[in-house]
């Protein structure tokens, strides 16, 4: 059984992003870039399924410009067997991304596609569900526990009401949430080994994918800021101001 796992290059989660003054986007020049944290969890889960003897091969996939190979190397250093880079300089939105992943899934025939539940740049939270739709596969989103039992998976999902469990037939798309696992640290020898692992490069055209209509970004602005408040010195003072506002 193969597992396909999606990897996206994003601004590192520790970076305090700056909106450009001309409204054209956020500043990314010289900013630290990393693998989307949710995708790291997806890679880790794929590796754990393989290490448990339930999968033979883990294939990492990314879509984007040449530099995205850095994140594929990270996935390979973590333990993925090989990688596919769908190289493009275009802005690929979730629906087109899902079509690309479907084309790769048709070719590679994985039993599971593992994706982060959202990327921390655009916060869309769409691609896994869209891939599920296009493939007519089951989807189990926001997973905090995954158990593979032969041809099915039992997935615990973090939803607003609590923890929901779904049983899905494989192949299936699973999107992962933060508490699924803690990704391993990559060791230096693994980084060296990863350099010898293969990365196959393909284009969107190679995959015969039709680019979907896209959501056009007209401008990017800084969010409305909350007014800075005051420090109170005692509980009595706090109670007094809250009472005055009719809040308690």
């Amino acid at each position: 059984m193969k597992i396909l796992v999606g990897v996206k290059r994003v601004v590192d989660y520790n970076v305090r992003i700056q909106v450009k003054a001309d409204g054209s986007g956020v500043a990314t020049d010289g900013v630290k870039m990393s693998m989307n944290p949710f995708d790291e969890i997806a890679v880790e889960e794929a590796l754990r399924i393989k290490e448990a003897g339930k999968a033979e091969e883990v294939i990492a996939v990314t879509i984007g410009p040449k530099v995205c190979q850095e994140q594929l190397r990270t996935a390979l250093a973590m333990g993925a067997d090989r990688a596919i880079h769908v190289e493009t300089d275009d802005d690929i939105q979730p629906l087109t991304g899902a079509r690309i992943l479907k084309a790769l899934a048709d070719k590679e025939e994985p039993k599971i596609v593992l994706l982060g539940k959202q990327a921390i740049d655009d916060d869309n939270n769409q691609t896994a569900q869209m891939l599920g739709a296009l493939s007519h596969w089951p989807q189990a989103t926001f997973a905090s526990e995954v158990e593979i039992n032969g041809d099915t998976a039992l997935v615990t999902r973090e939803i607003d009401a609590g923890l929901e469990t779904l049983s899905v037939d494989l192949p299936a798309v699973i999107s992962v949430d933060l508490r699924l696992n803690e990704p391993r640290y990559v060791k230096l020898p693994d980084i060296m080994k990863a350099k010898r692992k293969p990365i196959e490069t393909v284009t969107v055209a190679d995959l015969n994918v039709e680019v979907a209509g896209s959501v056009k970004v007209l401008k990017t602005s800084a969010p409305a800021k909350r007014q800075a408040g005051i420090k109170v010195d005692s509980v009595d003072e706090l109670v007094a101001v809250l009472k005055e506002k009719g809040l308690i």
Binding site: I17, L95, Q126, A133, P138, I159, A212, A222, Q227, V232
Partner: protein, 312 residues
């Protein structure tokens, strides 16, 4: 045929409050009609509740035993069949809507606009990116507009409506590859729902343990407040996941938010930006939570809670 269909979120008997907020957003589109669809096993009482929402023209009720639980792979084909009569299909951006709507959009071959926080026109919207640290104004692609509504950005519409309820049959083939197995809730008892509560008392890593969280629950009960938590507190196992507030948890907008022992990571702040008044209590005077708090108090959270309870 400029109409919007809002997908109702419910638990089979109660309409979830997120639906009335999504209706508020949908009403701003300025279209000919705002309809709501209730997909349920029975759902007649849910449909009656939806019919009272101000601004709703018609409530469609799709009854099917498979709709007993909200499984995206089963709901999506039914919504796709209904969508042909509409220019827009919206749902609340709760885990329900987030799971469901991209599946609908992809099948119909259109992109989705996630987390709509402002309607500029029927095709132009604002939405947050980078955990709310930037806002993008986006224009929808041509064709059907599929969107999810950031519920914290909208107040629920009132309940002065009297829409008609239409039972609608939808004949589509549904897959059998996905089975609902169960739901474990943390059983909040009589406490108000976190997303609907006017007041929320929240605890973070500083609370220290699951046992210590009883102080947070105690104060919440005294105030009639919902209980929230930071990711750190949930990760540490102090409290179940459905209490998490933040970028990847719940985005809330209570009138009063009280944060105890929460440092204020960007991801947490993303979930409370729209709160009316934020109170923060933390031992660390430099904690970033104080940058957004209306009232900050530096001190031991347990002592503060004890004093607060006495003063209330």
């Amino acid at each position: 045929m400029s109409k919007v269909l809002v997908i109702a979120e419910h638990d089979g008997s109660q309409l979830n409050g997120s639906t009335a907020r999504a209706v508020a957003c949908a009403s701003e589109l300025g279209l000919e009609a705002v309809d709501v669809v209730v997909l349920a096993s029975d759902g007649s009482s849910v449909a009656d509740q939806a019919a009272k929402l101000t601004g709703v023209s018609t409530v469609l009720l799709v009854q099917n035993p498979v709709n007993e639980h909200a499984v995206a792979a089963l709901l999506a084909p039914q919504i796709e069949a209904l969508a042909v009569d509409y220019s827009h299909v919206f749902a609340p951006s709760t885990t329900f809507g987030k799971d469901l709507m991209p599946r609908v959009a992809a099948h119909l071959g259109v992109p989705q606009i996630s987390d709509i926080m402002r309607v500029e026109s029927s095709t132009v919207f604002d939405r947050p990116v980078y955990a709310g640290n930037a806002v993008v104004t986006v224009e929808a692609a041509e064709g059907l507009v599929v969107g999810t509504v950031r519920t914290a950005s909208y107040s629920a519409v009132t309940e002065e409506g009297s829409a008609s309820v239409e039972v609608r049959g939808v004949s589509v083939t549904l897959p059998s590859h996905t089975r609902y197995e169960g739901l474990k809730t943390s059983g909040g008892g009589d406490r108000p729902d976190l997303q609907a509560a006017a007041k929320v008392v929240s605890g973070g890593r500083g609370v220290g343990s699951e046992e210590n969280f009883s102080a947070i629950y105690g104060l919440a009960d005294k105030l009639g407040a919902g209980v929230g938590a930071s990711r750190a507190a949930v990760d540490a196992g102090f409290i179940p996941n459905d209490h998490q507030v933040g970028q990847t948890g719940k985005i809330i907008a209570p009138e009063l938010y009280m944060a105890f022992g929460i440092s204020g990571a960007i991801q947490h702040l993303a979930g409370i930006k729209d709160a009316g008044t934020i109170v923060a209590v933390n031992k660390d005077a430099d904690a970033p939570i104080f940058e957004v708090a209306d009232y900050g108090l530096v001190g031991d959270l347990f002592e503060v809670i004890e004093e607060l309870e006495k003063a209330l």
